[in-house]
């Protein structure tokens, strides 16, 4: 019951958040100098051409009217048409979203188990040489910017050694082709998020391991592995799930650097292009997707922590 009520509240709150975000994004895009007509006409602008094109694109209407039109369209299931190339926004975003999801999923498959493994083992062997080495490595990797990792990776493994491809094509035709395309981008992304998630997992576990019921279990003679996996991990699941969710949501829209370096056609580049060309419907659609994913992942994380906690589950 508790859970259904929570989900209900979250969905309502989420709708409100989306509405607020869409207003903020709309106002923000409008504050930027210039509009889509300039992106289309480029150097060849003239006052008449701009005026004509503005009218044709509906940009001559007052701001609130444009916003309401867009909102009305969205509510009836139509996110509108791109101002730049007159293609439906849904058609532009569809394949890009699929590509981004593919990259996120592949990264998650590599990064999440690895992060949990490192986090848990370093917590179990706290203070050992392994723990310290793993920690220093993790902190260093978080500190190295993605563009450096990716660029060095490309120059070393694609240009010099020629083991993998320098560009990532979003298709998984065969295993070798997938390895060629995805090894470098997935590794680059994994480095940063794995390190963060592992650190969070370790911290959350250690917090629980210091509590008195663990002390009790230890005194009672529970073996270390069982102590961590059975007694401690469940209570640490909430924070861990949240750390994973946060990192995964950043993978969907926040990987512009990896998309540019590997020329991967994902959502982040589309969003940046849309802002650059002042393509309002496209900017809004991207913002809505990023915001929704973020909220969904956090919701899933919260559900996970409720499920793992009997006190919350049964109350």
């Amino acid at each position: 019951m508790l859970m259904l009520a929570m989900i209900g509240r979250r969905v309502l709150g989420g709708m409100l958040t989306l509405l607020i975000v869409s207003v903020v994004v709309f106002v923000g895009t409008n504050i930027l100098p210039g509009d889509a007509t300039e992106a289309i006409l480029g150097q060849s602008t003239s006052p008449e051409a701009v005026a004509g094109l503005r009218k044709a694109l509906g940009l001559d209407l007052p701001g609130h009217e444009r916003y309401l039109r867009w909102l009305g369209g969205l509510l009836s299931g139509d996110p509108g048409v791109s101002l730049i190339n007159r293609l439906p926004v849904a058609q532009l975003i569809g394949p890009r979203l699929a590509n981004s999801l593919l990259l996120t999923a592949l990264t998650a498959v590599v990064a999440v188990p690895l992060a949990l493994l490192i986090g848990i083992t370093t917590a179990i062997w706290r203070g050992t040489l392994y723990d310290r080495v793993a920690n220093v490595t993790a902190v260093s990797l978080v500190a190295v910017p993605e563009f450096l990792l990716a660029t060095v990776g490309v120059i070393l493994f694609a240009v010099q050694l020629r083991w993998v491809s320098a560009i990532a094509t979003p298709s998984v035709g065969s295993l070798t082709q997938a390895l060629q395309s995805f090894t470098l981008p997935v590794l680059t992304l994994s480095f940063a998020v794995t390190a963060q998630m592992a650190r969070m997992t370790r911290a959350a576990l250690l917090g629980v391991l210091d509590s008195s019921y663990i002390e009790m279990a230890r005194l009672k003679g529970v073996r270390p592995a069982r102590l961590v996996l059975h007694h401690a991990l469940r209570n640490a699941a909430g924070p861990i799930a949240n750390a994973v969710a946060l990192n995964l949501s950043s993978l969907l829209g926040g990987v512009i650097i990896v998309e540019v370096i590997f020329s991967y056609p994902g959502l982040a580049k589309l969003a940046v292009d849309a802002v650059e060309t002042r393509d309002m419907p496209l900017v809004q659609a991207c913002a809505m997707i990023f915001c929704t994913t973020f909220m969904l992942l956090v919701l899933v994380a919260d559900i996970c922590s409720i499920l793992s906690n009997p006190r919350l589950r049964t109350r």
Binding site: T45, N85, A158, V159, R162, I167, V260, S263
Partner: protein, 536 residues
Amino acid sequence: MTIKRHPAIGTSDMAAIEVALAKGASRRDLIRWLGAAGLSAATAGVVIGDAKRALAQTPKRGGRIKVASQTSSTADTVDPAKQNNQTDYTRCFTFYNGLTRLDASLAPQLELAEAIETDGATVWTIKLRRDVKFHDGTPLTADDVVFSLARHKDPATGSAAKALAAPMKEIVASGKHEVKITLESPNADLPVVLGTPHFLIIKNGTTSFTTAIGTGPYRCQVFQPGIKSIGVRNTEYFKPGQPYLDEIELFGIPDQTARLNALLSGDVQIATAISPQLAKRVQASPGYAVFETKAGGYNDLVIRQDSDPGRNQDLVLALKYLLNREQMKSAIFQGYAVLANDQPIDPTNRFYFPGLKQRPFDPEKAKFHLQRSGLANTTIPLHAMASSTMLDQAVLIQQAAQQIGLTVDVKRMPADGYWSNVWMKQPLTMGSINPRPSADVLFTLFFKSDSTWNESAWKNEKFDQLLVAARGETDEAKRKQMYGEMQTLVHEHCGIGLPVFMSILDAHTTKLKGLKPIPTGGLMGYAYAENVWLEG
């Protein structure tokens, strides 16, 4: 076998020599011609030898290449009328032909046309080749040409070349293989216009552009906007033996470092549009080469003549003498540039006037004019686009000005809105102009008194009269003389400081042969597809 470029002569000139040789020019003609250009007979002999060897290279059949170009979006098109970037041009030249094609000096050569005739440059008769077939087997006729040209005038087509097509008052088929075009006013450059990318010929009645059915060297097998296009060899191409490759795949990698990495990792064989900085990296990599096209594109210092301080002619001259062209060429463009002389016609153009004396970098003269202008103690703002070569050039102007006690305040403006809010709006700005197909187009767009883009608001009646007269003149020698006068007028009086012409750079594997520069754009003016082959 590689083509060695003689230091005394540019690649474009080399190409011109090769064209002359292919057309049957004798060795003696060429030596005389090169001698006139200041080369000794011995040097000329070496140059001609190089050109002959280049001609003797025999193309090899077969193989496939992948080409990475600089743009890619869902707006990609195979509709010649709607092309709006270089990737589109490169793609369309793979599938279509024009009536003419521009050569290394931007002179029109016949392509689908067999003959083009006119007296007076107003009424033109174009005879078509009879051996040309579209990819679906239908032969090319006058109806296809009339359709292809007339559609640009229809606003519903949304053609980027509507302004160029508007003066074609009447376009009719005067025979099965003959088209008659009547212009509103004489224009001797019609054959040049017909060689530009938007006037490629499509099939009569074409309305859908999900694929391309042209007469070109490759058939369109795959066309996915924003993803890629694949062309396979057209075995019935009308040029005997051509094309050489079996397949060309074209796609975009917008980030230039990523594009170059794709080349150096062997994922692609050509990476287009490389910056001079990256070109150095290509040259340091064995097995790869930079293909330089000397062309007419330039960044310029725009000094508005309709406001202060640009109205002051001494200030204009002072600024022109402050352009350190050599330094800009070597420091900003790594040598991939040609010195310019404050007028927009570059040395590859057939109407270039070599007699105009080069204006040197001369701080002393600049100082003299600055004193005379009475503006020595003022601060002059100069607006330039942030992180662009325009800004780099502005900074060099600033440094040179400092030497003579003139304070230039360089304002870094964001790229967003630069062309609408800054360029030509502030008294001093930096501009950037892409190569244009003819002297007439260039002068008409950017220098004619009443043009919207008359960058420096320069008014010169004599120039305007010469422009119209040269357009209608069919005698090439007379035209050349008129364009020479116009170049002198711009050089002496216009509010434009034009330091260097920028080369266009493409990178490719050295296994790829057959590239020769055509200054309308990179990759042989986009028409590389039918001319390149793979070796080894």
